[in-house]
């Protein structure tokens, strides 16, 4: 008479379903549809959506473009790392490698930038704190997203994809000026 015996009725698929289950299935299905529609809704009305712009690349090619930006817009150095202040609206680059995010970016509040991200070696995790934006950085792929920093301050870029023994030392920096 139980769940581990064959169904009592030979044609069990014709036994009517009870009210409790029917009401619950209807409510749950409605909720599922609402959740599904939230995603396209956010693409239209929300401000946090991930672009799908991406290119295949190589570490050499990507590294050269980052270097180009650094040469052009470097404003100072901090702990041996260049600080770069590219103009608002421009293409900016950040590379991840064992174990640093390079270089330091200095951006302006409420301006948009096209941020290019890639890895020179293994996979890394771009975790921008404390605003809390997390992206997967995959070698061989260049991801391009448009960012608009909306609060001034000093942000940390933590690696949150395990990348070996020095993983915890992989911390970068982004400054946002008023």
């Amino acid at each position: 008479m139980t769940s581990y015996m064959p169904p009592a009725d030979r044609v069990w698929w014709k036994v009517p379903v009870g009210r409790v289950e029917l009401v619950w299935i209807a409510l749950a299905l409605l909720w599922c549809i609402i959740m599904f529609l939230m995603m396209p809704y956010w693409h239209v009305y929300g401000k946090q959506n991930l672009s799908t712009e991406a290119y295949q690349t190589t570490p050499a090619k990507f590294g050269a473009r980052v270097q180009e930006m650094v040469d052009q817009y470097k404003v100072r150095e901090e702990a041996g790392m260049p600080v770069v202040a590219p103009p608002a609206g421009s293409d900016i680059y950040l590379l991840g490698r064992l174990w640093q995010w390079w270089p330091i970016l200095e951006l302006e509040k409420d301006q948009s930038y096209r941020l290019h991200l890639s890895s020179m070696d293994w996979q890394h995790g771009f975790s921008l704190q404390p605003t809390n934006v997390n992206l997967q950085i995959v070698p061989g792929y260049e991801m391009v997203i448009q960012i608009t920093p909306d609060k001034a301050g000093e942000y940390g870029v933590i690696c949150n994809e395990y990348c070996g023994i020095g993983h915890h030392t992989m911390v970068g920096k982004i400054y946002v000026k008023e």
Partner: protein, 578 residues
């Protein structure tokens, strides 16, 4: 030749070959759980920043081995035991090709040992996911491949056993619901192992130097066809275990065979789409693809879990009400056997899986919300709710049932056994809740040092993050104590428990009449009959059969809705991106 024995307490028929296979698979699983538990101690005490026990080398090694032993070896070994139980034992038939099943088991054992050796040698601390181009030693991959092949062989034997049962007409009508759930798990397992082969074999060849390059993004997409789908085997298997325990302890029958089976069928159709959940913030993955897959095609697999979440406790409620526990909304639940770990383990598993595992899984698997959660410690919090409580605790509950029924031993230390599910489930719940909080503050998963010692740049987490991680660690320690209690009780019972011949012991008060004992004296068990038809009075379909369960389900839905929109609000506060 007589090859069956009937368990006098439960009435289950055990085929001799099947019985041994169930035992060895279950025992191998528990050994893996033991290893995983010991390693968990190192992980917990390192992530508790004030203690910070292990060196980075040891921490990443321990984390890799903990993940693989807990998430792969323990669970899949135990699932093989469940498959043989759900086919041979429940259908009262001999096992098809026991030799092949043994070969499969030995391969799994060999693979598990080789993989563990590779990890403990120290040059394969690549985490369970082993993301290319980070490379492990070749035998790391070889161990996993052997394990997967062995599992596939045992799954095929399971299908063979179903054919045997059908052809030899050992049961009447359609297979029982529990067996149907096991079939669901087995079908998903085939898909899972195929994905594993597609990615791990080339990766193995790459580690040997025969292949020059593994595309890192392709690795992620295909690997998660293995990584996430294997968790869907667990869901199907532990839902089947919930139904089984409801049936054994309460004589509960499914509220509707049609609804429960349809929900399992939805798992087969849609659960494997979940590999998308891991690549929501990856480069170059299309928006439409993400929306369709991340929602399991409009959340139909979520719908399936919500259905089981109602029908499992609902079936218990109906059975309890028929026994007279029908006062108010919740007398049926208050009068449930809360001191029996078979029940408490199963029920805690169900509640934590639904309220914590299910809700957080959908939230973080939402395309845009994943931006604020990906790779934070929120992720392990989620899967400890689904796998460490949902699956593991359900399997622990089943183990308490199997000790007297399968191993014919009385459970020792009954007081400890009674508290064990509360210790383990409670500790895990604390761990989960506080890791969810820390994840929301951006704390990274798989990370040795929240202080970033030695980094050229400075970043400080808010002080609250440290507090949350410390409380999570205390919850983790409690769960480990619960795990130790489980191992003490189970291993102790197998070694020192009183032999049950013919006494009924531990479960007597929850089971029906005892049958006469006789070891393997049965040549051919009686055909497994259909469940008896309900009389008109018993059939409650006219009324609202399970109001208490429905109220609990509404509580789940309201929590779900509120928490879901809180996360959208949080997302709206981060930097605009497009």
């Amino acid at each position: 030749m007589a090859t069956f024995r009937v368990c006098p307490d439960s009435g289950f028929y055990f085929n001799r070959s099947a019985e041994r296979l169930i035992k060895v698979n279950a025992v191998a699983g528990v050994v893996a759980l033991l290893i995983a538990g010991i390693l968990a101690l190192g992980v917990v005490l390192t992530r508790w920043q004030e203690v910070h026990l292990l060196s980075p080398q040891d921490f990443y090694l321990a984390l890799t081995a903990h993940g693989i032993n807990a998430l792969i070896f323990w669970i899949i070994f135990f699932e093989m035991a469940i498959l043989h139980f759900a086919s041979s034992t429940l259908l009262r038939c001999r096992i098809a090709t026991p030799g092949w099943a043994w070969a499969g088991f030995m391969l799994m054992l060999l693979g598990a040992i080789i993989n563990n050796v590779a990890v403990f040698q120290g040059r394969s601390s690549v985490m369970m996911t082993s993301y290319a181009p980070m490379q492990a030693e070749p035998h790391f991959y070889l161990g996993l491949i052997l394990f997967a092949v062995g599992a596939l062989v045992q799954v095929l034997v399971f299908f063979g056993t179903l054919v045997v049962a059908y052809q030899e007409k050992t049961y009447e009508g359609s297979v029982p619901l529990v067996t149907f759930g096991a079939i669901t798990a087995a079908i998903i397992a085939v898909f899972t192992i195929a994905s594993g082969a597609i990615i791990l074999i080339p990766t193995f060849l790459w580690s040997l130097g025969y292949i020059g390059h593994i595309d890192a993004e392709m690795y992620r997409i295909v690997w998660w066809g293995l990584g996430h789908s294997s968790q869907q085997i667990n869901v199907s298997a532990h839902v089947a275990v919930w139904y089984l325990i409801a049936g054994v302890l309460f004589g509960a029958r499914p509220m509707s065979e049609k609804v429960s089976r349809f929900a399992f069928f939805l798992y087969i159709l849609f659960l494997q789409l979940a590999c998308a959940h891991h690549i929501l913030v990856d480069p170059g993955v299309g928006t439409e693809w993400k929306i369709f897959n991340t929602s399991y095609a409009m959340y139909l697999a979520v719908l399936a879990s919500m259905i089981h979440g109602l029908t499992v406790p609902g079936s218990i409620e109906v059975a309890q009400r028929q026994k007279g526990y029908s006062k108010g909304f919740f007398e049926w639940l208050r009068k449930a056997p809360w001191s029996n770990p078979v029940f408490s383990g199963m029920f805690i598993s169900l509640v934590v899986f639904g309220f914590l595992g299910g809700i957080t899984g959908v939230v973080m698997g939402t395309e845009q919300i994943n931006l604020i959660i990906h790779n934070t410690i929120y992720v392990p919090a989620h899967f400890h709710a689904t796998v460490a409580v949902g699956t593991t605790l359900a399997f622990m509950a089943l183990t308490y049932l199997l000790i007297p029924v399968l191993f014919r031993r009385k459970v020792i230390l009954p007081t400890l056994a009674r508290w064990q599910p509360y210790l383990f489930g409670g500790g895990m719940t604390i761990l989960i809740l506080f890791m969810l909080g820390a994840g929301t503050l951006g704390v990274s998963r798989r990370h040795w040092d929240m202080d970033f010692t030695g980094a050229a740049m400075v970043f400080e987490y808010p002080g609250m993050a440290y507090t949350l991680m410390a409380i999570a660690a205390i919850g983790g320690l409690l769960a480990i104590v619960g795990g130790v209690a489980f191992l003490l009780v189970t291993v102790g019972s197998l070694l020192f428990g009183e032999k049950l011949e013919p006494s009924a012991g531990f479960l007597q008060s929850f089971l029906g009449k005892a049958l006469a004992p006789s070891a393997y004296a049965v040549e051919r068990p009686e055909m497994l009959p259909r469940a008896p038809k309900l009389t008109v009075e018993e059939h409650g379909s006219a009324g609202f059969e399970a109001p208490g369960t429905f109220a609990l389900a509404m509580l789940l839905l309201v929590s779900f809705v509120v928490y879901y929109f809180i996360n959208w609000k949080y997302l709206a506060s981060v930097w605009p991106l497009s």
